[in-house]
C-alpha cells in the first residue's frame, strides 16, 4: 500500500465511521512522507515530542507557496490569525491575555461558577425527552449544551445561534483537508460575516460591559485580535464538545458491560470520559503544523518548510504507549491521552469541555434507560479532523426524574 493511498483513505468519507484500522497501518511508519512533501506522524512518543518542539510552527505562512495555509485569513480581510495559528511570542501574549478572565491564576473560579447553570440546561434538555420513544442525541442533547455554554462564557446572546451556526459550520469544515478551494472560499466568507457580527457585539460590550469574557477582554485587546479570538472560541466551542458528548454516548451504548458498571458506580463517569477522549478523540489530527528547521525524528528528517500532520487519534492507540489500545477500558491507569493535544497549544477550552461532560454524561445515563442504537454506525459529518456523528438516533425505554 503506498502512502498516498493511505492518506486518501483517511480523508475519504467512506472510512469516517472507522478510521482506526487505517491509523494502525499508518503507525507502521511512524513518520511517513506523503507524495506532496507533507509528513504524517502517527506514533505516541513522536507526536508528543513534536507537539512540544519549538521548531514546529502553527503559523502556516511558514509553508512554501502551493501548500494549504490553514487558519490564515486573506490579507484583504484585515483580520489577524487567531492564537491557535500563531507561534510564541505572539501566541503566548494573546493566550495569556485571553486566559485572564477565563482561568487561573487570575480567574480560577469562573468556569466552576457555571456548573449550576449548565446542570439546569442538562435537566431541561432531558425533561424534553418525556413521552418520546426515540431521540437524536446530537440534535436533542449534545449540540444544545455546548452552544449554551460557549455563549455564556463569551457573553454572546443564545438566541443568535441560528445566525452563527451556519458560519461556525463553514469554518469548522474548512479545517478538513478535503475542503478544497470552494470550502476555503466559503470559510473566508463565513469568517468575514461572523467577524462582522462579533465586531458589532464587541463594540456594544465596550460601551456597555456585561457578563462573559468578551466584555472583560475588550479594554485589553485590539478590536481585530479580539474579533479573531471570539471567532475561534465560538467555532471551537460549537463543534468539538458536541462530538465528545456524542462519542461518549455512542461508545457506552456499544459497551453494555461498561454501561452496567456505570449504573452501579456513577463515579466511573470521570475516568470513562478521559478514556473516550483517548479512544474516540473529537479532534482526530492536527494538519496545520510546519517544520521551521530540519527535524530528525524516528530515523527520518522532516525538512524545513514541510507541512506536518500530527495524528492524535493514531497516537492515542499506539500499542507502545497503551496496553491493548483498541480496548475501551475506563479503568485504564496512567491515561496520558493526547485527546486535547499537548504542549503550548493544549486545548484552551479543555476545562470547559470537561465541566460540560462531567455535568452531562452521568445525568444522561442516570435518567435515561436506552434500549438501543437505531443506526450503528451512525451517519458521520464530512469532516475528517473534527470527526463525529451528524446524528445519533437512539431508542429509549424510560426516563426517570
Amino acid at each position: 500500500m503506498t502512502s498516498g493511498t493511505l492518506i486518501t483513505q483517511i480523508t475519504d468519507y467512506a472510512n469516517r465511521a472507522d478510521p482506526y484500522p487505517l491509523y494502525a497501518e499508518l503507525r507502521k511508519i511512524p513518520v511517513r512522507r506523503e507524495d506532496d512533501g507533507s509528513y504524517l506522524v502517527s506514533t505516541y512518543y513522536e507526536v508528543r515530542s513534536l507537539a512540544n518542539d519549538p521548531r514546529l510552527s502553527n503559523d502556516t505562512t511558514n509553508r512554501p507557496p502551493g501548500y494549504a495555509r490553514v487558519g490564515q485569513p486573506e490579507a484583504e480581510s484585515g483580520l489577524p490569525p487567531s492564537f491557535i495559528f500563531t507561534d510564541p511570542p505572539v501566541h503566548d501574549r494573546l493566550r495569556e491575555t485571553i486566559n485572564r478572565p477565563f482561568g487561573p491564576p487570575h480567574s480560577p473560579r469562573f468556569l466552576d461558577g457555571l456548573r449550576g447553570e449548565l446542570a439546569t440546561v442538562v435537566t431541561d434538555l432531558l425533561d424534553a425527552f418525556e413521552g418520546k420513544d426515540q431521540v437524536d442525541i446530537v440534535e436533542d442533547f449534545a449540540y444544545p449544551l455546548p452552544v449554551t455554554a460557549i455563549c455564556k462564557v463569551l457573553g454572546v446572546p443564545r438566541e443568535d445561534e441560528p445566525r452563527f451556526h451556519v458560519w461556525a459550520d463553514a469554518l469548522a469544515s474548512s479545517l478538513d483537508p478535503q475542503a478544497g478551494d470552494d470550502g476555503q472560499a466559503k470559510a473566508q466568507q463565513a469568517r468575514q460575516d461572523m467577524g462582522a457580527y462579533l465586531a458589532d457585539l464587541i463594540e456594544t460590550k465596550r460601551r456597555h460591559p456585561g457578563p462573559g469574557i468578551l466584555s472583560a477582554l475588550a479594554p485589553d485587546m485590539t478590536p481585530a485580535d479580539l474579533e479573531a479570538t471570539a471567532v475561534l472560541l465560538l467555532v471551537a466551542g460549537h463543534e468539538t464538545t458536541v462530538n465528545a458528548i456524542t462519542n461518549t454516548t455512542l461508545t457506552l451504548l456499544r459497551h453494555p458491560d461498561v454501561l452496567d458498571r456505570l449504573h452501579k458506580d456513577p463515579g466511573l463517569a470521570v475516568p470513562l470520559i478521559e478514556e473516550v477522549l483517548r479512544y474516540e478523540p473529537p479532534v482526530q489530527f492536527v494538519p496545520w503544523t510546519t517544520a521551521l528547521a530540519d527535524i530528525d525524528v524516528a530515523d527520518t528528517t522532516i525538512p524545513k518548510g514541510a507541512p506536518v500532520w500530527l495524528m492524535l487519534a493514531a497516537a492515542n492507540r499506539d500499542p507502545k504507549r497503551f496496553k491493548d489500545p483498541d480496548r475501551f477500558d475506563p479503568g485504564r491507569k496512567d491515561n496520558e491521552h493526547l485527546g486535547f493535544y499537548t504542549g503550548i497549544h493544549y486545548c484552551f477550552g479543555a476545562p470547559l469541555a470537561r465541566i460540560e461532560l462531567h455535568v452531562a454524561v452521568p445525568e444522561l445515563f442516570r435518567r435515561v434507560t436506552f434500549s438501543r442504537l437505531l443506526e450503528d454506525p451512525p451517519p458521520y459529518r464530512a469532516n475528517a479532523v473534527l470527526r463525529g456523528p451528524r446524528h445519533l438516533p437512539v431508542a429509549i425505554e424510560a426516563l426517570t426524574a
Partner: protein
Amino acid sequence: MRLVVDLNRCQGFAQCVFLAPDVFSLHGDEALLFSPRFDEAQRDRVEKAAAACPVQAILVDYFDEPTKGAEPHVG
C-alpha cells in the same frame, strides 16, 4: 484524605485548578500550589482534577492513615 502532586511531572497545564479551585491554585503562570489534605466535600472535585491531569501527576489517597502500606491510586 490526602493528595500529592509529583512536581517533577507537573507542567503547569492547570487543569486541576479549573476543576478544584479550593484545593489547587496557581502562583504566577506556572507554579502549582495545593493543599495536601482535603475534606470529603472536595472529594468529587479532586477526583476530577486527578483524572484530568494531562501528565497524570496527581496521586490521591482516600485513607487518612499513616502512609505505610496505603496504596495510592490515580483518579
